[in-house]
Amino acid sequence: MTELTKRYGGAPAVDRLSFQVRPGHVTGFLGPNGAGKSTTMRVLLGLAAPTSGTALVNGRRYADLRFPMHEVGALLDASAVYGGRTAVDHLRCLARANRIGTSRVAAVLEQVGLAGVGRKRTGGFSLGMRQRLGIAAALLGDPGVLLLDEPVNGLDPEGVRWIRELTRALAAEGRTVLISSHLMSEMELTADRLVIIGRGRLIAETTVRELAARFQRGVLVRTGRVPELARALEAAGASVLVEADGALAVGGLDAVRIGELAARDGIPVHEVTPRSASLEEAYLALTAGSLEYGAAR
């Protein structure tokens, strides 16, 4: 993705966006609603033409791939199926265009847990079943790259966990997995790497761990001898705040150093916990300036 820009009318939906997604990881593609996630994916899949810049898969334009489903599997909008067709027929229509055999259709239906309803019309499917059908379609060509747009929408908790395990397993096989979401809490559990955008621009390209570290908020310490420990830590240069429940919020020292100081003075410590802002908060802080449809505060 290099300097990708896509305008609809005047305002850019995606604005000089550059990032790279690497194999072997689940990359979370995060941004508030209207940030340009779906637009980016649509451009990447050749469904929308970029105003400028390029979006390449394995170094090539998607439209130049002869049998693209073997290289890239995509789930865009799970509800976008013709309801009159059975699940098997729906997948066969897609598979046939890419020279994928019927046995593979049965295999992916099995994989996503829809084998029992393969002969049912998709019109009667729940949103969760359609998500699974969409993922089955993405997996048809056994592709090395998977692009999943909001795959957990409409899934029950069991389905959410299934997506999490499936995507992690696919990445562990060395595939490139990009999952878009507007929910940090979900990506926190699924993704290793994060691409965060807002108003079509890149806000951060990072890992879950880095993001957590960046928003580190000191260490929480509990002890029976609050004043003594507070004095000792302040003497060592820390900022100490006594919280309502008697715990100490310590800034400027890490957990190891705090433990050593307490031991030196013989003060028993009940708990030493490095605290970070939740990733949810970190994400909100990052995207606060770029909310397209945010509530006024």
Binding site: R42, A48, A63, A80, V81, Y82, D89, L94, R96, A97
Partner: protein, 256 residues
């Protein structure tokens, strides 16, 4: 290309609307037995002197004329159902070469519509022969060329429907256009002042059948008509111009 064609064939085969449309065409063909039976009875009841003035429009062609509209709708639905459901995104992700996808779709729609059109024409011909027997009713003379051409025009309507559907991306809008070409425009053209009603009338799809295959001694309601070669060119234009425009539009526009 053959893969895209096979995929579109599977898609058309597994769409319910295809079978509904074909069912309606079969029903129309079957119902043509009624006017055939009625004509035969009428003929038998008439005194021989008045039989010479009795005329019934060619039943196979009447059936094909109805099939124009139904297969036009099939062509429309072949593409607009993909836009309305969003299936078009999956289709064009599987076949990113959009012109290939359109040509494949046009190919299968053309084959199905042509088969349906010819089957309609010749089935109704056989049924009418069977019911009318050897009664020499005017208008019921067997004219194979015109029946054949009527089937071809059924295919042309299906392709016009497909093209307009791809251009408008709206089922209702495209069906209005097809229905307009089928009946509304010919009626309006008929109301034009003298030389113009003939000039435009000769360009109407149904008029082309007579112009290409010969009128078989009948006077056309569409006026003097074009020479066969020109009529063939107009018929080809009915396919090529909208389909070309649809190809360019599909190539240039973003998929919604």
């Amino acid at each position: 290309m053959t893969d895209a064609f096979a995929a579109e064939w599977l898609k058309l085969r597994t769409a319910r609307s295809t079978w509904y449309c074909l069912g309606v065409v079969a029903l129309i063909a079957g119902l043509m037995a009624l006017p055939a039976w009625y004509s035969a009875r009428l003929w038998d009841g008439l005194p021989p002197a008045r039989r010479a003035s009795m005329e019934v429009s060619s039943l196979p062609e009447q059936a094909c004329w109805a099939a124009y509209l139904v297969m036009g709708v099939l062509g429309v639905l072949a593409i607009t159902s993909e836009y309305s459901t969003g299936m078009i995104r999956a289709t064009l992700t599987a076949v990113p070469r959009r012109r290939t996808a359109l040509v494949a779709k046009a190919g299968v729609v053309a084959v199905v519509a042509l088969a349906a059109g010819e089957a309609t024409g010749f089935t109704v011909l056989a049924a009418a022969r069977l019911i009318i027997g050897d009664r020499p009713i005017h208008g019921q003379e067997t004219h194979l060329g015109r029946i054949l051409m009527s089937g071809v025009v059924v295919m042309v309507f299906a392709l016009v429907g497909l093209s307009v559907g791809a251009l408008l991306r709206s089922t209702a809008g495209a069906i209005v256009v097809v229905a307009g070409l089928w009946h509304i425009v010919p009626v309006l053209v008929h109301l034009l002042p003298a030389p113009w009603s003939d000039r435009f009338g000769s360009l109407m799809p149904a008029a082309l059948v007579e112009e290409i295959a010969g009128s078989g001694g009948q006077n056309s309601i569409y006026g003097a008509g074009l020479p066969p070669a020109a009529a063939v060119a107009v018929l080809v234009a009915y396919v090529v111009v909208p389909l070309g425009a649809a190809g360019i539009a599909l190539e240039r526009r973003d998929v919604p």
